[in-house]
Homo-oligomer: 547 residues x 2
């Protein structure tokens, strides 16, 4: 085999794909391009370079060595961006801690990831104080503070980030690394069991960046990211690298705006003041922004938003389109770096009405280049691309976690048969557009037929009196399982189980959904349990309402 | 070290960067998108997929095995595009023969590359007939013909391409390969010695494609390639993969138009008829197209052209801009896959006059992502980015030939010190724009000072009576070397050596160029010798006028 490979003369440089090389693009050396953090920091790209070098010097002088893990608890900030580069570039692993987990879960991930250093925003000191006595592995704590550095007797901080940076050397000779060196790690907020650690290499992050950049770049008018855009993340940087877009924005030399904690008012103010044109968020935040009083008097047109993390409903999509926003779905998960598909529209599709466009924009979309995504049966045979054959979504691409950290069994389950199993069920149409119909473990089997809880949720959500809904499967002697709809009614509206049943039956009668749905039972509730990232927590709901 | 790398669970798929994976993008499965060859073929992307599979079946059934070499002699065609994919995808090596070389040189490259199969367009049979008796290694000949298949007794063809394709199986299970498998090879048309073979792996071609796609994609209004563009190559496919753009165009699902042999009239007709909006060519072809009578009555506006292979002159650039074309320079060479830099302009620069823009568009431009290009002194120290410090251009990127085929000495010279030496001399400005000032071997040393022959050629070309000019160094007892300008005057114009000297002196007097240039001697000639790719052949000129 080896004589088939390209010969390399001894002096030739065999170029590895490293995060440091993403900074080689000349636009990354632009002193006039801004990086903004709320109203607290306004720097440029030359400063970014220098601050990345200073952060590397700081960490090294605190004893951080290749292979060690540096953990961060912060909201979205210029500091986080600097650490996205500096930590992997010295050969260490960046652990982006999900600050929305419970203190016990955070403790678990700090311990499991074997963090050596922890940078923590002062805002999270109350959490840290609850668990610090039980943290064994962290050697060094660094305080992050937006205000004057605090005195905190309970944690022996090596110093405050800005102060340490000011003292650190402004240049750093970043080493060459094996491109398969681990660069980042973080924990999935699965709905079952303890969080699981995923991890990504330098090569994987470079390739994810390049592929997403080509997908967004080559689009002409909609769903595009070009060099005149202004970027503001609205998916946390601790959550799957903020979908990888901070790396792209940096490589493109875009103006970047970091909003700290996500408060709808702050987000809208920053959008207006700094001219953000490209963001990404979960439907909940989009909903909150659209409902905020500021939104009504603002010009939101041309704001491009990738929506992901949960299904975008047609209603919300149409509402956003009416406001002039360019919303479109992205699909992926913690295990996949994350982006696998984007629902960009063709020029012909852009001629359609908002409602018709929403049908496409709410689909999961087309795969990125190099993504080998298949909808398969139980034997991994690909199903027809006919828009109706539903199957499990499995995938190969250059940027998938190669296992779960220190969990051989779950790793093998994830990769059984050589494909990563997303756990999602989907159909694919002739043009290749994917539409997720369910989580495989969420499917409800009624009278021997699959009923999609997502589809049923979508139907019930269309009822004008329904604020929120979740559907789970309830064991039934006669039918095997029956769907149980947990419904939060809108305030001061009257609604009965009969209204819902009648509403659902109309869809079944029209044949747009299998007739098993009429077996739905309804329970009115005050609220629906969510996971730390805002997804419906079906596990908790099952315990609560079926247990 | 290995514990720093990402762990891989046994079942995980370690995704290689392979040419076959560039076809995974769903837009590559579009039955409505066209691939056109002159007025002789009009197919779509589904047919491309099938024809690639058929070509693979055909080659395999003719006995082609991984590691063997398949050579092609054809003009730009849909067939060549199919072979760009099919040959590497079966693990074989695609040798793109430069049909502009002399028959003896072609024989040398067929022999040196150890070609096993040769596909040859009927147009080149006269060349083949001259050398076939001396070809030892080729086992199988395949005829390519735009007309009815010919009977040719002198070459024992296995068949004609279309006929063999029709008989071959329409599906092929393309194997996974090591990403460092050799995919392509071809020969540099250097001006010294015999042609040298360069070679590129699957990984290198995928990464070159992705990087060029991000550079062209993320541009907003000028110098961009988006999904609504129509591509027509005007740099031969045998010349450094037509700059890699056929791979990009395919991955983007663009309409593609292949023009066969480059005749200005055909090119302009195809541009108009098929709506081409993106091309690339050498200055000579741009010049020929602009001067063609068709051009005057055509709308050339919005036609994006990367110009490379030779320096774009300011005059030609301004002329193209006036015609509404978006011309900009690309830089690279056979050894570099080829693209290293592109001279895209910022929105502010696009506000400048044509003449001012031309200054930037004729520069060599900014590097692509992941390209580590340096202007260095003899000790490989980087020179200041001040727009005046001239030095050697050395480079690292993920897509550089790792040596010359079977030439250890030249390979080590190319890569001395771990950087690929381009042999070019350049300056770089504060924004990172590179400007090639000379070939290092072309510099003329006058009275101890370097004189750039390119600069002097540029000055003399500005004289209204000069049609073409080449400058070489002539040994001189007093000055060491003096520039000798070989000048082709415009027809029916009177011009003397004194006119040229006076013209040159004006530039020296203004201080825009070192005063040594006034020592230029002038010789009026009828034509200037060119290499097979249209560059000035300084070696031949030196032999002719100094020998």
């Amino acid at each position: 085999m080896s004589d088939l490979l390209i010969p390399r003369t001894p002096s030739a440089y065999d170029y590895p794909l490293l995060i440091k090389n993403m900074l080689l693009y000349p636009v990354v050396d632009n002193p006039n391009q801004e990086i903004v953090y709320r109203d607290l920091y306004r720097g440029n790209y030359r400063q970014l370079r220098e601050r990345v070098a200073r952060a590397a010097s700081m960490l090294t002088s605190l004893g951080v060595r290749p292979g060690q893990t540096v953990a961060v608890m912060d909201w979205d900030s210029h500091r986080y961006l600097e650490l996205f580069f500096a930590v992997p570039m010295i050969g260490a692993v960046l652990h982006t801690i999900n600050v929305r987990l419970s203190p016990e879960q955070i403790l678990y991930t700090i311990d499991h990831a074997e963090d050596d250093v922890l940078l923590v925003n002062a805002e999270f000191l109350p959490i840290l104080e609850q668990i610090r006595g039980r943290i064994d592995n962290v050697r060094t704590y660094i305080l992050i503070s937006d205000e004057e550095a605090k005195d905190d007797d309970t944690v022996p901080f090596a110093g405050e980030y800005e102060e340490l940076l000011a003292k650190a050397a402004p240049v750093f000779d970043f080493p060459d690394l094996d491109e398969n060196t681990r660069a980042t790690t973080f924990y999935t907020t699965g709905t079952t069991g303890m969080p699981k650690g995923v991890y990504f290499s330098h090569r994987q992050l470079v390739l994810h960046t390049m592929a997403l950049m080509t997908t967004l770049g080559t689009a002409t008018a909609h769903g595009c990211l070009h060099r005149d855009d202004v970027y503001m993340p609205i998916t946390p940087m601790f959550h799957v690298h903020a979908w990888g877009v901070p790396y792209i924005a940096t490589m493109m030399g875009l103006k970047q705006v970091y909003p700290g904690r996500y408060l709808p008012e702050t987000l809208l103010e920053l959008k207006e003041k700094e001219g953000a044109t490209f963001s990404h968020c979960v439907p909940t935040i989009l909903h909150m922004m659209l409902k905020h009083p500021h939104a009504a008097r603002m010009d939101l047109s041309g704001w491009k938003l990738i929506i992901g993390g949960a299904a975008l409903s047609r209603n919300l999509c149409v509402e956003a389109l009416k406001a002039g926003m360019d919303v479109f779905t992205g699909y992926g998960m913690s295990e996949t770096c994350p982006i696998l598909t984007i629902s960009q529209l063709t020029p012909e599709m852009l001629e359609l009405s908002h409602a018709e466009q929403a049908d496409i924009r709410c689909k999961t979309g087309l795969t990125l280049p190099l993504v080998d995504l298949r909808v398969v049966d139980a034997e991994l045979n690909e199903l027809p691309r006919d828009g109706v054959s539903a199957g499990n979504v499995v995938v190969r691409s250059p940027w998938l976690t190669q296992g779960y950290l220190k969990d051989h069994k779950a790793s093998e389950r994830l990769w059984v048969g050589g494909y990563l199993h997303t756990g999602d069920v989907a159909v694919r149409d002739e043009l290749g557009y994917l539409r997720i119909t369910d989580r495989s473990k969420d499917v409800i089997k009624v009278a021997g037929e699959w009923v999609s809880s997502l589809e049923l949720e979508d139907i019930i959500a269309h009822h004008p009196a329904v604020a929120e809904v979740a559907v789970i499967g309830k064991a039934d002697e006669k039918w095997g399982e029956r769907p149980l709809a947990l419904v939060v009614p809108k305030p001061s509206v009257k609604i009965t189980e009969k209204d819902i049943s009648h509403h659902v039956r109309q869809y079944a009668d029209k044949g747009v959904v299998s007739k098993q749905v009429v077996l739905v039972k309804v329970k009115f509730v005050d609220a629906i349990d969510k996971t730390s990232v805002g997804k419906i927590n079906k596990v908790a709901l099952r315990v609560k309402y079926l247990g």
